[in-house]
């Protein structure tokens, strides 16, 4: 059975999706990531999808779910490295990934997560009432 590794780096969890995921594998990743966030107290999740040559509605939903579950567990999610052809197709498909932060590459994604988690610490309760 395939498994997508989840790496912990300081208070972040890093996932690089390198296989063409079937639906069960996508669901398994969603469950494992949620469990790991809760176990480790991670403040951020970075998902690198630069190897994915398609994102269909199922994989898109999984990404949106991970971001939503992470938020409930007080962690931010950034998706990085989406290929341009995938981005064009996603928008035409009608999938806009509401509430999912994106960055062009891992460097920018890490910077975004660091500033997002720092903001959270600086301003207690800053997230209250946010709807995105």
């Amino acid at each position: 059975m395939d498994r997508i590794p989840i790496l912990k780096l300081r208070d972040l969890l890093l996932v690089t999706i390198q296989v063409d995921m079937h639906d069960r594998l996508a669901l398994q990743l969603q469950d494992e990531l949620t469990t790991r966030i809760s176990e480790t107290g991670a403040r951020g999740v970075l998902i690198d999808i630069s190897s994915l040559d398609i994102v269909d509605s199922f994989i898109g939903r999984m990404i949106a779910n991970i971001a939503a579950m992470a938020r409930v567990l007080d962690a931010q999610t950034v998706v990085v490295g989406m290929q341009p052809a995938v981005a064009i197709t996603l928008v035409e498909l009608g999938l806009t990934l509401p509430g999912v932060r994106t960055a062009l590459n891992v460097d920018k994604g890490m910077a975004l997560l660091e500033s997002a988690t720092r903001e959270d610490e600086d301003v207690p309760g800053a997230d209250a009432g946010r709807t995105d």
């Binding site: 079937h22 040559d53 398609i54 898109g60 052809a85 995938v86 197709t89 498909l93």
Partner: protein
Amino acid sequence: MPVARTESLELRSAADVVSVRQVVRTWAIDAGFSLVDQTKMVTAASEIARNTVDYGGGGTAVLELINDGVRRGLRVVFEDRGPGIPDIQQAMTDHFTTGNGLGLGLGGARRLVNEFHISSRVGEGTRVTITRWK
């Protein structure tokens, strides 16, 4: 219409959906599609293939490399002998779903291809044909 090549694939499981994506990608490259067009065709095929497995109880995907005399194209016909779709209009509507998906499958796939045809009979099954031209 002249069919240059054809291949039939079984669709029984989530892993078969992945196989269909990979074969459609190879054929789209053979048809000379740009990267964006390949991606749209593979994504559309993935949506319909999943429906065939999840809602149709499995079936087949038949790929055809076609030529209308002017241009080359790729056609995929998905067929199942599942319960059928009682209201196709409703099933094509964005965000309509009977399962736990986003309800973007059929409508979304239609936007990603040049030609889309669906026919279904309750109790007999569903056939979806998608075509994209180079």
